[in-house]
């Protein structure tokens, strides 16, 4: 009996080691740095329909930029649809559990893409699992309310900290809708401390504004690019109350194993920003963005 239990233990250990080895081999086989992408001849763009970054109808600022990047590399472009819950595992091959600024690595997952580009906000926990490119777009998180809400927009003071404080004060006792695992994750902004009743939205990021209009919550948070799109789509239906975050930036995400691909993307971004093609795309999809973030865009105009 003793001999049998030892054999089982050894067998279990062997299997674990074998699986780990196979897993490592598998991950290595899918690690997509520049040489792999060029050898494959295809750049796989992980995207989620969101604002005008990825419209869901085949275009968008990030779709155009990534298509141009594929052309720059001399490979074909391939769009790989994903969602906010799986976008990181689809890139890195590991599932994650986010706790505020911390992230816990979980089991493995199949790698589906070579880069993330869809208004992907640079957040501390994301920086721990992916490498971000140079900033591709500026952002900020705004509190949005239904037009008939009794909450009235703040009077800007010129001091962002005071404006955030005034906005958070207006959230007290109000139902505020947010979306986990995105830049609108409530844990990032500590809404409970503001006294807000957080409602975790189960739909897609693009559906937050219509959900507020449909009375699913009185308020929600949106980042600036998405808020600008929502204002244009539903004029008179929603109103912007004020900011809940300081300025943020978005960037393209790459695995930690793809330094060359990241470096090439940064070179490509510099080129488009210098030759004017970047600003052409920005003005096409976010014509009013330059008014809110003049500091970010001035050097590219």
């Amino acid at each position: 009996m003793k001999r049998r239990s030892v054999t089982l233990l050894e067998g279990a250990l062997f299997l674990t080691a074998l699986m780990t080895f196979v897993s490592v081999l598998g991950t290595a086989a899918h690690a997509a740095d520049l040489d792999d992408v060029r050898q494959r001849g295809v750049l796989r763009h992980l995207g989620i329909p969101y604002a005008n970054f990825v419209t869901g109808t085949g275009d968008g600022m990030d779709v155009e930029l990534t298509t141009m990047f594929a052309g720059y590399l001399g490979v074909k472009y391939e769009y790989v649809a994903t969602d906010w819950g799986t976008v990181v595992p689809d890139l890195t091959g590991r599932k994650v559990k986010v706790k505020g600024a911390d992230v816990e690595m979980l089991e493995e997952a199949p790698v589906k893409g070579d880069m993330i580009a869809n208004g992907f906000t640079v957040l501390p926990w994301r920086q721990k699992v992916v490498n971000f490119s140079k900033p591709t777009f500026p952002s900020q998180i705004w509190l949005i309310a239904r037009a008939d809400s009794v909450v009235t927009p703040i009077k800007p003071t010129g001091d962002i900290d005071k404006d955030i404080e005034a906005t958070r004060a207006l959230m007290k006792g109000k139902a505020v809708m947010a979306l986990e695992k995105t830049c609108l994750d409530p844990s990032l902004y500590d809404f409970q401390a503001a006294g807000a009743e957080v409602i975790l939205f189960k739909g897609k990021l693009n559906e937050l504004a219509p959900a507020v209009i449909n009375n699913e919550a009185e308020m929600t948070i949106l980042d600036v690019p998405d808020a600008l799109v929502a204002l244009g789509k539903w004029p008179g239906k929603i109103k912007i109350i004020g900011p809940v975050s300081k300025k943020q930036v978005m960037g393209a995400g790459f695995t930690k194993d793809s330094p060359k691909l990241l470096e090439e993307y940064n070179k490509f971004l510099d080129k488009t920003q210098q030759d004017g093609s970047y600003m052409k795309i920005v003005k096409k999809y976010y014509p009013s963005a330059t008014a809110y973030f003049p500091d970010f865009f001035t050097s590219f105009q």
Partner: protein, 649 residues
């Protein structure tokens, strides 16, 4: 005669009648022409007035469309969204400015898309809020958002004191756009003004500006000069001329208030040629606007555009022009013929010139050939001279060396001859001794004592003892001679440095010594040599070339001494250079000779004795070593050559 006379009378009457008929016919023709011209002009005038009416109607439609444009602009969704968001309390910092930018973008698009014959209709669009602040202000060339009331380009300022100007444009009552105008001519502007109401409340004013030149160019532009080319038009606003063509100066024109619709106003003005011209002005209002159209038509154009006098004048002028033209053509042809002849002459001269140039070129080429040949001859001669100098040096060298070698070789040969005789005698002595010993052994000679005595006698007779002593002395002497030859050869090698690379570190004193040894034969009979050598550092140089310099100077020094003198070789150095001074107590040189001593081919020696290249070559060698050579000479006292060679850092 009577028949002839009556025939003449009849002929005269007939001529008179024919003349009268001709005059009548001409008068009829002129009258018909006058009537025809009058009717034609009347028709032309009515046609022109109809044209003025049509233009006025077209301009009226144009302004009506612009009023519709204002209504459409006020209905733009972007403006509505802005006011919706404003009403919701949104701030510019958070959301509202995006709405305003959208509205501004819509205004820009509006300016860019509204065109008339490829020209933009609106030069500027402005949206004033209810307090009079400009929220949107976009112009044809650039857009400027001035929501803080900042300044915008002329012609209409929207800030400061000028704000009073636009306040009169504000009409808060809903309805169609109203028209106003400011300024005049190219600086003028037509303004459409429409109140904007949001949810029934006055919320602002839309102002659109049109350049009156656009209206003029499209609907009115006809001619630059009414006096000579037909009608001209002016745009009138509030009893003043808003836009007139450049040829019509307003102070000459009648005041628009004195004009009435459908009634001609006659006035005169100076024509293009300075003469007074009668002008008729016709006023036609543009319906639906405060603007009117005034047509100016020359009275001459209306009544007698082509009178007989004018026709004669015109025909005369045409005749003169044709004659003038013919004259010019003939004159031009003649000039051309002269020019052609001149051209032929120039071409002929050119051919001759080319021929001459070719001949001269051939001459020059031949001369060049001769110069080249002469140069080649000169080069050959120079080469020959250099060779001659070389051979002279070699000869000098060979003479010295031959003399030095000749002495030891002489006594060595003499000694060898003596040694040969001694050897024969010794051999003979040996042979005789052998015979005596052999006779003794065979018993032919019984007394050994006798044999010994004979051998002693023989030794004495043949002077064997003296020969034995002399042989050693001769061998020692010959060895000494051989040593002397060996030393001369070594000196010769040292002088020529045949066994060393060309440019290398050299002991200058050693080089001077070897040179002295070479020329010693020539020197020793003429001068006492005094060496004052300093302790010199080794120098990198072409030692054989420097030795050649030393030899030239030493030989010259020797030759400068008539009977017996002194030659001093002094060497020393400082931090930068090594110095070699060779002085003689010879005859010295006068200044005219001293000046030319380094010139090539300059010599004071007899023809064939010197090439004149020795000191020139020496000068070049020292230059090649970046050094300097100086000569100080005084007639009757002697000459000193001082060589200065730099010590490399």
């Amino acid at each position: 005669m009577g028949v002839f006379r009556s025939f003449s009378i009849i002929r005269g009457i007939a001529a008179i009648l024919f003349s009268l008929a001709l005059v009548v016919y001409l008068g009829f023709l002129l009258y018909s022409q006058y009537r025809y011209q009058s009717e034609l002009q009347q028709y032309a005038l009515s046609h022109m007035l109809a044209d003025v009416e049509n233009r006025s109607t077209a301009a009226g439609y144009f302004f009506a469309e612009r009023a519709d444009d204002m209504t459409r602009l006020a209905e733009r969704r972007e403006l509505l969204v802005y006011f919706e968001n404003l009403a919701l309390g949104m701030s510019m910092e958070y959301g509202l400015s995006a709405s305003l930018m959208e509205a501004e973008s819509a205004f820009k698009t509006f300016i860019e898309t509204r065109k008339l014959a490829d020209r933009r209709i609106y030069s500027r669009l402005v949206f004033l809020d209810s307090s009079g602040e400009a929220l949107i202000d976009v112009s044809e060339n650039a857009s400027t958002r001035t929501n803080n009331g900042g300044s915008v380009p002329s012609p209409l300022m929207l800030d400061g004191e000028s704000r009073e100007t636009w306040k009169k444009l504000v009409t808060k009552e809903p309805g169609r756009a109203g028209f106003l105008a400011e300024g005049k001519g190219r600086q003028g502007v037509i303004i459409l003004s429409l109140p904007y109401l949001f949810k029934g409340v006055y919320s602002g004013q839309i102002l659109a500006m049109i350049h009156p030149g656009l209206v003029y160019d499209h609907f009115l532009a006809e001619s630059d000069s009414i006096v000579s080319k037909g009608p001209a038009f002016a745009l009138v606003y509030n009893e003043r001329y808003l836009f007139t063509p450049d040829s019509l100066l307003c102070d000459r024109l009648p005041s628009p208030s004195s004009l009435a619709k459908g009634k001609a106003y006659e006035f005169s003005m100076n024509g293009d040629d300075g003469s007074s011209v009668l002008i008729n002005a016709y006023l036609t209002p543009i319906s639906g606007t405060p603007f009117s159209l005034t047509a100016f038509i020359s009275a001459n154009d209306e009544k007698q555009p082509s009178s007989p006098k004018t026709m004669i004048l015109v025909t005369g002028w045409i005749g003169i022009v044709i004659l003038g033209g013919t004259f010019i053509i003939i004159r031009t042809s003649m000039k051309n013929a002269v020019l052609k002849a001149t051209q032929d002459q120039i071409m002929h001269m050119n051919v001759e010139l080319e021929q001459r140039v070719m001949e001269r070129t051939a001459d020059i080429e031949a001369s060049n050939q001769k110069v080249e040949e002469a140069y080649a001859d000169l080069k050959a001669a120079q080469s020959q001279m250099l060779q001659q100098e070389k051979m002279a040096s070699i000869g000098q060298l060979a003479a010295g060396v031959a003399h030095e070698i000749n002495n030891p070789i002489g006594f060595m040969l003499s000694n060898l001859g003596t040694l040969g005789k001694y050897a024969q005698r010794l051999l003979e002595f040996g042979r005789r001794q052998s015979e005596l010993i052999e006779a003794l052994v065979k018993g032919a000679s019984a007394d050994p004592q006798t044999v010994i005595e004979e051998m002693k006698t023989l030794r004495k007779t043949m002077k064997i003892d003296r020969i034995s002593d002399d042989i050693l002395s001769l061998i020692d002497e010959s060895k000494e001679g051989g040593e002397r030859v060996k030393k001369i050869v070594l000196n010769l090698k040292s002088f020529a440095r045949l066994d060393e690379a060309e440019y290398q570190e050299t002991d200058i004193n050693e080089g001077i010594d070897s040179t002295i040894n070479i020329v010693w034969n020539e020197l020793k009979y003429k001068a006492d040599l005094k060496k004052e050598y300093g302790d010199l550092p080794k120098l990198k140089c072409y030692s054989s070339q420097l030795n050649q310099v030393f030899m030239n100077i030493l030989v010259n020094a020797t030759q400068a001494i008539d009977k017996h003198g002194e030659i001093t070789v002094h060497t020393w150095h400082d931090a930068g250079c090594v110095y070699i001074a060779i002085s003689d107590t010879g005859c010295g040189m006068p200044p005219e000779v001293a000046r030319r001593i380094f010139e090539p081919f300059y010599t004071t020696k007899e023809v064939g004795k010197g090439t004149g290249l020795g000191m020139s070559i020496s000068y070049d060698i020292i230059k090649k070593h970046n050094g300097r050579i100086r000569m100080d000479s005084e007639v009757g006292k002697g000459t000193t050559f001082t060589i200065e060679l730099p010590i490399p850092a």
